[in-house]
Every structure is written in C-alpha cells, then in structure tokens.
Chain length 146, copies 2
DNA sequence: CAGTATCCAGCTAGATACTG
DNA sequence: CAGTATCTAGCTGGATACTG
C-alpha cells in the first residue's frame, strides 16, 4: 500500500504537535514555574508570596545565603535546593555570588528578569486569591453529588 | 530530656509549612494549571493559545465534543483526556453536557470561571512571549560556560 | 461515541551519607 | 558553610484491551 495508515497519520500529527509544544513559550514558562521549589524560592527572594507563619521578612528583594534560604523553606532537601537554585541561575532569574571567606559565603539574589517574573506571578496570585475558593466550592459540591 | 531536639523542631517547621502550602491559593492554582493537558484543553476550548500548525479554529469559546477535543490534541491518551476533563468539570471550569442520542453525544464548554482563568493565563502568555527568549539565551550562555 | 480498567516503565523527589 | 553523590520508593503518564 502506498497510502499512509490512520495510525501513521496520528503518529505524525502527534510528532508535529510535540514539536510545536517544545517551542511554545507559554509551555516552557509553565514547565519552569510549575515546580514547587521554583515558585517558593522566587517567592522568598522577592518576598512576593504570603509570609510563612512565624517568619518575619524584610520587604523588597534582597540577597540571601544558602543557609538562610534553607531555613526559610522548611522541608526542602539540600538536593532540591541546590538543583533549583542552579536551574534558576542558569535561566538568568537569580544571581549566585561567591565570597571567598572561610568557610565560603554564597548569596543569591533576583535579577531584573527574576523580578519581572515575580511581578507577573502577582497576577496569578490575585486570580488565585479571588477565585480559588469558588473552585474549591465546586469541587466539594461535585464530590457531594457522586 | 524535656527539650525538643533540633530534628524535632525542623520536623515541626516542615509540618507547619506544609500546612500553609496546602491552603495557599496560589499553590493550589499552580498545581492545577501546571498540568500539560489542563492548559491545552482550556486553550482549545477557549482558543486562547496559538493555533496548532495546520489546524483552523473558529475564534471564541464554544462547545466541543470528546472526539473533536481528541483530534485537536494529537497525542493525548483517552485516559488523560477523560481524567483531565473530569478534573476540570469537578472544579467548575468546564461543563459536560450529555445528549442522549444513539450513540451518545457529549460536549464540553468553558464556564465563566474557566473563561476567567483563560483570561488570566493570557497575562502569563504575554510574559512568556516577551521574556522566554531571554531565558533561553541565558540558558545557552550558561551551558556554554560550563 | 465516549468512555472504563489494568498494567507497567520512567522520572523525580527525598533520604542518607560524605566533603573541600 | 555550601554543597556533591548515590539509591530508592512512589507517583503518573501512556499503552493496551475492553464496553454500554
């Protein structure tokens, strides 16, 4: 048979769609910010997010040391903290500054790009705070019914 | 010893933080929209996202049938499509309408809440389209260095 | 047509141990 | 202090098969 099968056509459509998604800026952005620790780190570095209970933060972006970040994010493993910080540095969202004291001092700070991202996330936060209750109500109602 | 150990204190801080995150609206929102198929389904139902190559869409929210959604989203498995549609319905973001023809006809449509979410996502899309290139450039530069 | 049911491979977060 | 290295358990997406 010289004609393509339905399965082949579907496979090709999928391949094209995957290629499209791989370059879609929105999808790439979502892939980055959907990570739990990414948003939390950006949050504490920019103090955009609600305060954690019992923790006082000085407002405005500022540099923070590795250990301080670790304390601000209870439950983060060293692996995830380091891994996430590296990824954010790689993307130019934060800077990593090493001061050769003994022992070494490392501090992290938002870049302009990182601050810009944080600003955008505020829109997301606003929507969440004004609509998530409705979502939760819907969810409860749905579960009730079934 | 009557005093708590450092490990105990850390465990408690983690528990408190987890509790905080569990109710944080922004986190809940991110948990919902970070899913690949969620954003894509909301996208095609609202026609907010860029068109897929070779696919023509009529603008404006409208109802779509299960099979049509399936065609618009090459590569989605039946399991994921159904699962995601159910989740969105549960959250009140889309409606599911069953018409008892033979065989049965089912159509999905955005609710006002779903449209509102789509509107918010447009902000995200704008940021992505104007900044993701910079992120990608930073990423490439970082990889170059190492 | 619009699903449901089941099974499995792959990824990843976290725990643990070690170090310049 | 600020990491690196390694191992594993658990979740989730996708493939496959079946159905009112």
């Amino acid at each position: 048979m010289a004609t393509t099968t339905a399965a082949q056509q579907r496979a090709q459509a999928k391949a094209e769609y995957d290629a499209f998604l791989a370059t879609c800026p929105s999808r790439r952005l979502l892939d980055r910010i959907s990570n739990k620790w990414v948003t939390l780190i950006l949050g504490v570095l920019g103090r955009e997010c609600s305060r954690q209970p019992g923790v006082d933060g000085i407002d405005g972006p500022r540099a923070m040391r590795y250990s301080e970040l670790s304390r601000q994010l209870p439950g983060v493993s060293q692996k995830m903290l380091t891994q996430t910080l590296r990824a954010l540095e790689r993307d130019g969202l934060i800077t990593r500054t090493v001061t050769p004291t003994v022992p070494v001092t490392v501090s992290y700070e938002l870049t302009d790009l990182g601050r810009s991202l944080n600003d955008m996330m505020r829109g997301l936060k606003v929507w969440a705070e004004s609509h998530m209750n409705e979502v939760l109500t819907n969810r409860a109602a749905y579960d009730e019914r079934s």
